[in-house]
């Protein structure tokens, strides 16, 4: 753990292409349960996580991965929020590939990040925001790398093993940002039809690239729409159904993180979570896992811990913010 070398499986575009060629690309119905969808995740998988920081995080899918007690995972996400802390504290993750990790400026440097990375329990492989975005994009394009002008001259080069290449036309040195082909993509979207054609409102983040780069795509959606609705506005589809392996209908599937226009992140919840960590250290996250992850059997039971009043308030705020 922690050696600064690229894992060839991450950028092997030939193997990644073969995996996609070999899988069913069906236009069949994809609707299923969280348990069934997440049953496709294996120990040791490299997981590309959609959304960014506390925006459109696929928390219902991620909670189910923890409930199924997967181990040795790698999480790849541009800005990693407290979902990364939960995976660290649960012992589910051995490496996090990210550009930044903490909850957000008002909550300070994550004490959980510090604990697990400083003790060497979890390796944090840091790429720049754009470089990690281009890793997903190279994966989405099916190419081994993309030339770029970023991340050069920094010590980040040695962390993830970024190489340079000489431009065959001008002779300049450019970064050769390696593709990242995740085993599994997890996305939470605003709406999808039952065949998995997905629509996203507001910030697209990197979801469309992550879905194309991954071998297996698991999606949760706030709303199920009709096939007719998809066909009426095909320009709104950002992930086509044939990419999607499993789709789960999960209203408030990012809560307490935000979903653009539908509900605001619950900052009070973040504050309570951080206060508990301030009081009792990393053990507080163990308690949180018991209460919010392992305890409530269903996502609906989980949401009951927040209460309908709180969710209605967050929904009202989101409408005001995007009016």
């Amino acid at each position: 753990m922690g050696d600064p070398h690229l894992n060839p499986a991450e950028y092997d575009f030939i193997a990644a292409r073969r995996r996609v060629e070999a899988k069913a690309k069906s236009a069949a119905e994809k609707l299923t349960s969280l348990e069934d969808a997440v049953g496709r995740v294996k120990d040791g998988d490299q997981i590309g996580v959609g959304g960014c920081l506390f925006s459109r995080t696929p928390l219902a899918l991620m909670r189910e991965i923890l409930r199924q007690r997967r181990r040795g995972l790698t999480l790849a996400r541009n800005l990693t929020c407290n979902e990364g802390e939960l995976f660290m504290a649960a012992g589910a993750v051995s490496r996090v590939t990210t550009a930044w990790m903490s909850i957000g400026l008002p909550w300070g440097v994550s004490k959980i990040l510090r604990h697990y990375v400083e003790t060497g329990a979890v390796a944090l492989e840091e790429w720049s925001h754009l470089a990690l975005g281009l890793r997903f994009r190279a994966g989405a394009m099916g190419v081994p790398f993309l030339p770029a002008l970023t991340m050069l001259g920094s010590d980040l080069v040695g962390v993830g093993g970024l190489k340079t290449v000489q431009d065959p036309y001008t002779g300049e040195t450019v970064a050769a940002v390696p593709a990242l082909f995740p085993d599994v993509a997890l996305l939470h979207v605003h709406r999808a039809d039952r065949f998995g054609n997905c629509q996203i409102d507001g910030y697209p983040h990197m979801d469309a690239d992550i879905a194309r780069a991954a071998t297996t795509v698991l999606v949760s959606t706030e709303e199920i729409i009709s096939e007719e609705e998809t066909r009426r506005y095909p320009d709104r589809t950002v992930v086509p159904g044939f990419l999607v392996d499993a789709l789960v209908h999960v209203p408030f599937g990012s809560f307490p993180h935000e979903c653009y226009g539908l509900y605001e992140a619950d900052y009070d919840h973040f504050a309570e979570y951080c206060a508990a960590i301030d009081r009792s250290g990393p053990a507080a996250v163990g308690d949180y896992l018991e209460r919010y992850v392992y305890g409530p059997p269903t996502w609906s039971d989980y949401l009951d811990l927040f209460g309908g009043e709180r969710m209605a308030l967050q929904a009202k705020r989101a409408k005001e913010l995007t009016r």
Binding site: G2, F54, L79, A99, L113, L149, G153, D155, G202, L321
Partner: protein
């Protein structure tokens, strides 16, 4: 420093003045974004903000300052939401004039560390959150302006880890690393404005705030500072600037 304003207000006002009309700015959340919003309201109405959450042209609403680059407040009345990767690609293409960012630890060549304290990246003494978009802003914008409190522990001779490169090790080393464009032009601090010697690319004092001596600047800096041929004194924040700034952050979320 007088008591008419606090350190964050001073930083935001002086930083805002660095922005010109008819330009584009890549702004990080916190004081840099406040400064960009102030510039747009006061003297640069045709300034376009780009935010790394994948947001172009937002109008930051008073009392609704975003706490992250990806939350709904950051995109208030935006003109385009292209996604994160494409927002940065506008900068790589050369469309972003100024990158505006803070810094945890900065060295004499303007390199910034927001990754780790300690010698071994994989076993750090202190793990910090990381680059986010800072490395890309430092690499890709035409010019970068750093906005930071002036403290000796922040201004160190060598950063433990170069997260966001500026002039690397001086003397053409930025160019040699493949960074063909940009670099830090100015560091706006609570004590004054720092720049870089055109040849050695070492940091130098260019201006001090009223009542601040160059000795005070040196005492709060962990390396030897050069001096510009002529050291200016900044104009203190005006009542008008302070009023507009305070109206943007009535909850004092970032102004303290």
């Amino acid at each position: 420093m007088t008591e008419r304003f606090n350190a964050s207000e001073l930083l935001a006002v002086i930083a805002a003045r660095q922005l010109r009309d008819d330009t584009t700015v890549f702004a990080g959340v916190g004081v840099p974004l406040l400064a960009a919003a102030l510039a747009k309201r006061r003297h640069a109405p045709r300034l376009t903000m780009v935010i790394e959450g994948g947001i172009i042209g937002p109008e930051i609403a008073p009392g609704r300052l975003p706490v992250s680059t990806n939350e709904m407040r950051a995109g208030h009345r935006a003109t385009m939401l292209p996604g994160i990767t494409d927002a940065f690609l506008f900068a790589q293409r050369g469309f972003v004039d100024v990158g505006f960012m803070g810094g945890a630890q900065i060295d004499q060549y303007g390199n910034i560390n927001t990754s780790v304290l300690g010698a071994d990246y994989w076993h750090p003494k202190v793990r910090l959150p990381g680059t986010g978009g800072a490395n890309d802003i430092a690499s890709l914008c035409r010019e970068v302006i750093i906005v930071t409190a002036h403290e000796k522990r922040r201004f160190v001779e060598r950063v433990d880890f170069v997260t966001s490169p500026s002039w690397v090790r001086g003397d053409g080393s930025r160019r040699a690393a493949g960074l063909l464009f940009g670099g830090v032009s100015r560091v706006v601090t609570t004590l004054g404005i720092l720049g870089f010697d055109p040849d050695s690319k070492r940091m130098r004092i260019e201006a001090t705030h009223p009542g601040v001596s160059t000795d005070t600047v040196r005492q709060n800096t962990g390396f030897a500072l050069l001096e510009a041929p002529r050291i200016e004194t900044t104009e203190p924040p005006s009542d008008e600037e302070l009023e507009m700034l305070r109206a943007l952050d009535p909850e004092r979320r970032f102004l303290g």
